[in-house]
Amino acid sequence: MTPFEYLRAEDPAEAVAAVAGRPGAAFLGGGTNLVDHMKLGVAGPDLLVDVSRLPLDRVEETADGLRIGAAVRNSDLAAHPLVRERYPVLARALLSGASGQLRNVATTAGNLLQRTRCPYFQDVTTPCNKRVPGSGCSAIGGYTRYHAILGASEHCVATHPSDMAVAMVALDAVVVVLGPGGARTLPLAELYRLPGDAPERDTVLEHGDLITAVELPHLPFARRSAYRKVRDRASFSFALVSVAAALDLDGGRVRDVRLALGGVAHRPWRAARAEEELRGGPATEDAFRRAAEAELIAARPLPGNAFKVAMTRNAVVATLRALAEEGR
């Protein structure tokens, strides 16, 4: 690990100024991803600005929904009564991620900004465009079981590993950012980039941009929502594919729906095409399958992950079917 200075920030503005003013500086949340990367040699900041104790640790009800502070721990968010009641998909996604010990430490912002688990990204002895731009992609032609089937490029086929983010994208979450130039908001779905020819950039954030909160708009029908995660072992394992869904039924028809996919792309994947297919149509298994297939027309599986296409389709159908049955 390279040596670094440590600063415990007292307020958000101080934290932003400290990081913005130094190219090698980084924010420190719980550290469960960043400290791991520092040990592996994937990251080497020369200053850590600890933002985990900032007064951003509250979940508050607002006129428009729920405001989640950036420093709220994953376990506290999952256990929050309003999240359990109104956004079960979010509580479930959080509870399916990592372990009890990690969730007690991991923060909301850190979870959103955790980096890919691509094994080559984490191994400094192998070429990786995300870690060293222009060095090549070892996954292409290599081990691709955990890699993307949607939206990838010839430069990078990595997936975003967060479960929480998939649920938040389905819920139309908005991210509140404080940067050197002031505060701004942006939809979470637009925070994340596709790899294109610059896979070293996971998000549109600039150096010194601090996430201060995530806002969830009101979505009454999200009380009927679910998260389904398919993985290699029953617990404490990243998703092969995952599905976040909320379903609003009008008798046997779909009045409205929210659908997002995890484990399939460089960002949490909002399945807009499938949603469009479903809205106004019958809430039947056939219709669910057709919608999933419409979304997956764009899939370009790799040699090691062709199974993900059928797995994603089946997971979407199973999730929606279970939600529809819950309503009867």
């Binding site: 550290g31 376990s75 010990q101 430490v105 617990s235």
Partner: protein, 168 residues
């Protein structure tokens, strides 16, 4: 870069000077000679380093010691009061819930933290009703302790030890 911090470890105030790169686990083991938390993977994947930090279970290998200045740390060693094993430790002994014992201090701390979470009504991935009360059945125990691996495969008896705890 050097830093001076103070931890309260197993009830004792322990000032310590260390490099900022030191994890909480290395601070405990190498600087303070508190060796009950074990280093298995050093990457958050095995749970052997689990301790209670301000009462909550955490993996100490991914937390920087400097970020813990002023915190209260309880290790498996500190759970025992006046030489008397903690009820969870006693249950592990009674149910033969270990073989080599390497994972055990982490398992015990994790279990103590987990029982507090259950008491507070926190659901897990195995909980059917997110808003209802939690019943700590075997499936719940396994899910809630999935962050602690045991290479000896003592899982069956670990579950038995905690089932006993859950019932009492």
């Amino acid at each position: 870069m050097d830093a001076r911090i103070t931890l309260r470890v197993d009830g004792r105030v322990r000032p310590v000077a260390l490099d900022t790169r030191t994890t909480l686990l290395d601070a405990l083991r190498d600087h303070l000679s508190v060796t009950s938390p074990k280093k298995g993977c050093d990457h958050g994947q095995c749970g052997a380093c689990t301790v209670l930090l301000d009462g909550r279970r955490v993996v100490s290998c991914l937390i920087l010691a400097v970020a813990c200045d002023g915190a209260e740390v309880t290790t498996a060693q500190g759970l025992a009061e006046e030489g008397e094993p903690h009820p969870v430790q006693r249950a592990f002994l009674e149910e033969d819930a270990f073989q080599c014992g390497f994972c055990t201090p982490g398992q015990v701390c994790s279990a103590v933290g987990m029982l507090e979470e259950v008491k507070a009504g926190h659901p897990s991935d195995a909980t059917d009703d997110l808003t209802g009360p939690v019943t700590l059945d075997d499936e719940e125990i396994r899910e809630r302790l999935s962050g602690n691996l045991c290479r000896c495969g003592a899982y069956v008896n670990i579950v038995a030890a905690l089932r006993e705890e859950a019932e009492s």
